[in-house]
Symmetry: C2
Subunit: 336 residues, 2 copies
């Protein structure tokens, strides 16, 4: 039915082996033969059968991308970056959405391995370390992004959450703020813990105690952001650092509804550089966690692993950090 390598070989007057070598490049083939085969392939519109190629060569040119969802800005940014880099290097991406459910994740990991993926980019739950380590041992490349299980042997690319939160808090302190409120995620999450640590550290460095009444931690969800903001406003803070991204959707409307002037009455810093915060009035100062660079670096590491084929060297669980950047815009001013 479809055109196979045999047809191309026939048209070019060579054997299948020679045709294969001519098209895959980089082996002993005379320039004329190579040209003849390439011409024949082009003329016939030959498209190689990846299933056959994968079966024999054990290289699928497939990369599995495992993540929680695509709604979160960091996640879909990373997904985009990964797909683009992959395509540029002639790899294809299999998308798997886990909802942060370890059971779904496990199922995806098993399925991906049946497809013979060459590597995996994981924003993982951290609950399947035994399985991921087994896959790693089988020679499948792997890089964890954003989250990393301590027991995982895969290298990880992490956001500098502590540094980012530290920079945001320091910025507010530099402006002269003392009553800096904090809205964060639960301490059970990586980012919740690290960002609070950054906030606390900055306060401590300037000799400021953290006032528990100014700290709100809760679910990654706008409703929590709204409640927390309402509570915090009663404490008369002069600045607010929202380190819980999803909560922002609740924080901003609550501030507007309460008629709080920004930055006149309250200085505001949020987390993650999403378009809305850039286009808001006044434009909101944010911490950019560097989602694009996270994705780029993860793919660099993964492609290195895949090409070297040396799980030993990479299976060290080494953690790389991507710097967070404070993007100063118009939402902060010295306190009155």
């Amino acid at each position: 039915m479809a055109i196979t390598l045999k047809d191309v070989a026939g048209a070019a007057g060579v054997s299948r082996s020679t045709a294969s070598r001519a098209l895959s490049g980089s082996v002993l083939i005379s320039p004329e033969t190579r040209a003849a085969v390439q011409e024949a392939a082009a003329k016939l519109g030959y498209r190689p059968n990846r299933a056959a190629s994968t079966l024999r060569s054990r290289q699928s040119h497939l990369i599995g991308l495992v993540l929680n969802n695509l709604i979160n800005a960091s996640f879909h940014t990373i997904a985009e970056v990964v797909q683009r880099r992959a395509a540029a290097e002639n790899y294809q991406v299999m998308l798997c959405i886990t909802d942060a459910d370890p059971r779904r994740e496990e199922s995806f990991l098993r399925t991906l391995s049946t497809y013979g993926v060459d590597g995996l980019i994981m924003i993982g739950t951290g609950k399947n370390a035994a399985l991921t380590n087994a896959l790693l041992a089988e020679g499948i490349g792997m890089v964890s992004v954003i989250r990393a299980a301590a027991e995982s042997a895969a290298p990880s690319v992490l956001a500098a959450d502590r540094e980012g939160a530290h920079a945001a808090t320091a910025h507010l302190l530099d402006l002269g703020h003392e009553r800096i409120a904090f809205i964060g995620g639960e301490l059970t999450t990586n980012s919740g813990r690290e960002r609070f640590a950054g906030y606390e550290q900055a306060m401590r460095e300037r000799g400021r105690a953290v006032d528990p009444a100014l700290v709100e931690r809760g679910a990654f969800d706008p409703a929590f952001g709204a409640e927390a903001t309402a509570r915090l406003l009663r404490q008369n803070p002069t600045a607010l650092f929202t380190a819980n991204h999803e909560a922002v959707f609740g924080v901003l409307p609550t501030l507007v509804a309460a008629g709080v002037g920004i930055p006149g009455q309250l200085s505001l810093v949020c987390y993650e550089d999403i378009p809305w915060l850039r286009w808001w009035q006044p434009a909101v100062t944010v911490v950019d966690n560097g989602a694009r660079e996270l994705g780029e670096l993860a793919m660099d590491l993964l492609l290195q692993q895949i090409e070297n084929r040396s799980p030993r060297e990479h299976g060290t669980g080494r953690a790389y950090r991507v710097g967070a950047k404070l993007i100063v815009r118009a939402s902060c001013a010295p306190p009155r």
Copy 2:
């Protein structure tokens, strides 16, 4: 190296053929044999090799998802829905991001066909109809979503943009507005054309002429939204319908900066139900284009095609419509 069907067959004391049939289900196999094979497979941790299966059976259980980007809310919503449905039906999704570039799209389509995808979900550029029709003729399933080329033989699932825009405009007219400004996309795009048509139709039905000074059409981009809003405010509209989703990011800050009271001074309706507009203060009345249903319906149609394997029946270019819903919130009121 890895455990193959041969190993499972050996452990269960049957032939490879029998083992294969026992695991693939739905053929003549005695219950005891089937149980024995399944047990052996489970005990050995057998994971079938998809490459081999695809090569022989010409079914990859892969679906290609081709779209512009993942930033746009409709697109990543559709991507999520497609992936979930696919996973539930034991298909995997290959993600391809085209940036709406026909050349990239073409390249992805060719690559996907080398992987032997069973079907394609396309938010396409419409510029590769010859190629998509060829793939369709080869037996690859296909459904276009949101955009559809007239020359394409694939069925399409389209948003009811005209109806949505009509409903939004009618809502404003019902409240008593007469000077209803419109911000849309270029007429060269499907959604730009259809949404303007809906606006115009609603106006016409109520005997209102469309005032060209109240209509702005331009790029899908916040900067355009900001300029357009600034120009429109000089025309003293009592209501604004923003049918260009990306422009919203420029429209809202401009309105806030100009101190326009909503809905007191100006009623506002936007397009697409994204979290920000739900949590804005006041909550913004929007037209929901039904991205989730678009994705669901597209997958339903695709799975039907793949299972029936009857390109004839489906290759009719038939267009399905998903209804748009007006979600009334707090951003509209009668004019003063």
